[in-house]
């Protein structure tokens, strides 16, 4: 199996050592923005994991005495119209965004890989049918398809994950198919065939590992857009149902009413969404530069 030797590549690029964390430091110095993105992502994951420890109040508990309170020492980001602590809701909202991000990217990518591999490797009528299905799914904007899907499935976390994963399938399948088609013609696949390896084994052991790099790059790029799509769905009131603290839901339509009286309700959830997506985009860009130099911009 042909793979890229990253250590040799690193030495050629001027790295003095390719051992352990020095390799990491070297990469971080070359890709400052990517390293910054990784830091944001790590913080995002940690916040989601330790939400119960960091948050100061129960994100769901209603306090009618402190409705729409401005940010203070007690409520760092103020409270919403039910008197719920915004800081605690944002912290717990990270869990929902992370769950949707990981869940729908993983689901969409794994189905997309299977479809793409089958389509590119088997070709013939299988390819034809899968191609038409991807055409159909790609003729609708991500948000429109996700909107109709959530409407059909009903608003809940698993349904939102499925609704966002399905539009991702054709995007992943396209990339994997194109890669598979190119790989099929390479000598090492022919060699594998000539020693009598089964088609299934060639597809899984030789073709699939070689499409991993572009796949990882694509998935990172998609991760941010799944978070944004969930936020949009919840903003429109068709995503994660109340009272769960989804960032998009916190900004729901009523937010326009609070623009005047409680700007903190508008600012903080938006900052949280933007930061999380920005971090994954920065990291995704750097990852593309490292793993997939052909696409480097």
């Amino acid at each position: 199996m042909a793979t890229i030797n990253y250590d040799t590549e690193l030495r050629r690029a001027g790295a003095h050592s390719t051992h352990g964390w020095r390799k990491l430091v070297f990469l971080a110095q070359r890709h400052v923005l990517g390293a910054f993105g990784l830091v944001i992502m790590v913080i995002f994951v940690l916040v989601a994991l330790f939400a119960d420890v960091i948050s100061r109040f129960d994100p769901l508990s209603v306090d009618s005495l402190h409705r729409l309170a401005a940010p203070s020492a007690q409520h760092w980001m103020g409270t919403d119209s039910f008197g719920r602590d915004v800081w605690s809701r944002i912290i717990h909202g990270a869990r929902i965004s992370l769950a949707v991000g990981i869940g729908s990217t993983a689901l969409g990518s794994s189905i997309g890989v299977m479809v793409g591999l089958a389509s590119g490797y088997l070709s013939g009528w299988v390819d034809l049918v899968f191609q038409r299905i991807t055409d159909i799914l790609q003729a609708l904007p991500l948000l429109v398809l996700a909107l109709v899907m959530t409407a059909a499935l009903g608003p809940s976390l698993p349904n939102v994950i499925i609704a966002i994963a399905i539009p991702l399938i054709p995007i992943v399948a396209r990339v994997v198919r194109a890669n598979t088609l190119a790989l099929r013609e390479l000598p090492f696949i022919e060699a594998a065939k000539s020693i009598g390896m089964s088609e299934m084994r060639i597809a899984l052991r030789h073709v699939l590992p070689n499409t991993l790099a572009p796949l990882i790059v694509l998935s990172t790029a998609q991760f941010g857009s799944t978070i944004l799509t969930e936020a949009s769905l919840s903003f429109l009131g068709l995503g994660i149902p109340e009272p769960y603290p989804s960032w998009g839901r916190m900004l729901s339509e009523s937010a326009a009413e609070y623009v005047r009286v409680a700007p903190w309700l508008v600012i903080f959830p938006g900052v949280a969404i933007s930061l999380a997506v920005f971090g994954t985009n920065l990291f995704g860009d750097a990852l593309r530069d490292v793993l997939d130099p052909r696409q480097r911009g």
Binding site: A139, L140, P141, L147, G270
Partner: protein, 315 residues
């Protein structure tokens, strides 16, 4: 060329047919139809009344009959009746199209006029601080949800002018028209501009690495002439594709932006119709979206052949 166009048109029809089936089935697997919603709201259920209403709306027939009824009507230009307003769906949808089309056109204009020049500058100044700054700006453009950008604009307008722009179908002054159309279009267009900028940059960089650029430099062409005369002309081609990608991208942005700014266009209408389970409106609007995306992509591909003489569709 002719054979290629015919093949593409047939594929377009296949795609649209597929979408119509998927949307129709998806909407029918939804637990609960409009009749359930209406009767739930009323608080009591008389099964006979309910059955009557379902029969009146054609919901008691099999799904295949309902589908054929819809598609048959669609081909004759009859889109059915809205369940909510009970007016013909066409009458509900048509007046909203120009509003959204105006917004989309303006947003596309912003996207191209901001994105392309900044993308070129970023590529020409690759590796400089300016390039870094522009790349961060474009990435943040892709990271900001457009509905949040809209809310921030509303907030700024409240603190600056003490009021929010309210939609008026017949703006009296130029400044009113500007506030009504350009401001929301900017909120949507910012994201597309970021996308356009990224694609322009990477396309420009790829061109700048090619041999004929080196040749142009070697024969003594000025930096300016190389960048704008030799490189940009070829780099602009892939940017045309952006318009195709943008079309789908913009529709998503318009849905949330029209909601934020309370603009009665088709994009917001789709969300309202989905909430009300107003099937005739939803399925026709989704079909409209698909037709727009498919036609734009087809046009872009054809435009490609016109702009670049090297491309000939012979297959």
């Amino acid at each position: 060329m002719f054979a290629y166009i015919v093949r593409r048109l047939v594929l377009m029809l296949v795609t649209l047919f597929g979408i119509s089936v998927i949307i129709f089935v998806l909407l029918r697997v939804v637990p609960g139809n409009i009749v359930d919603i209406l009767f739930d709201a009323a608080g009591f259920v008389d099964p006979a009344d309910k059955a009557n209403l379902e029969r009146e709306l054609g919901l008691d027939q099999s799904i295949v009959v309902q589908y054929l009824h819809w598609i048959g009507g669609l081909l004759r230009g009859d889109l059915g009746y809205s369940y909510v307003s009970e007016k013909p769906a066409l009458q509900e949808i048509l007046p909203r199209i120009p509003i959204t089309a105006r917004l989309a056109g303006l947003a596309l204009l912003f996207s191209a006029s901001i994105g392309i020049p900044l993308g070129v500058i970023s590529a020409v100044k690759q590796g400089t601080r300016l390039d870094y700054a522009l790349r961060v700006v474009s990435l943040s453009g892709l990271s900001l949800p457009s509905f949040w950008l809209g809310l921030l604009i509303l907030m700024a307008s409240v603190s600056l002018f003490g009021s929010m722009p309210i939609f008026n179908p017949n703006p009296k002054t130029w400044s009113e028209a500007f506030a009504i159309y350009c401001v929301p279009a900017l909120a949507v267009g910012f994201r597309s501009a970021a996308l356009t900028m990224r694609i322009t940059r990477s396309s420009m960089l790829e061109i700048l690495r090619q041999d004929y650029i080196r040749t142009a430099r070697a024969k003594g062409a000025s930096e300016r002439s190389v960048n704008y005369h030799h490189a940009l002309k070829n780099a602009i081609l892939p940017v045309i594709t952006v318009i195709g990608i943008d079309a789908a991208f913009l529709i998503g942005g318009l849905i949330v932006t029209e909601t934020v700014f309370n603009i009665p266009g088709v994009a917001r209408f789709l969300v309202e119709a989905i909430r009300w389970r107003d099937y005739p409106i939803v399925q026709n609007l989704v079909m409209l979206t698909a037709v727009v995306v498919v036609v734009v992509n087809f046009t872009v591909d054809m435009l490609y052949a016109v702009v670049d003489p090297r491309i000939r569709y012979t297959d």
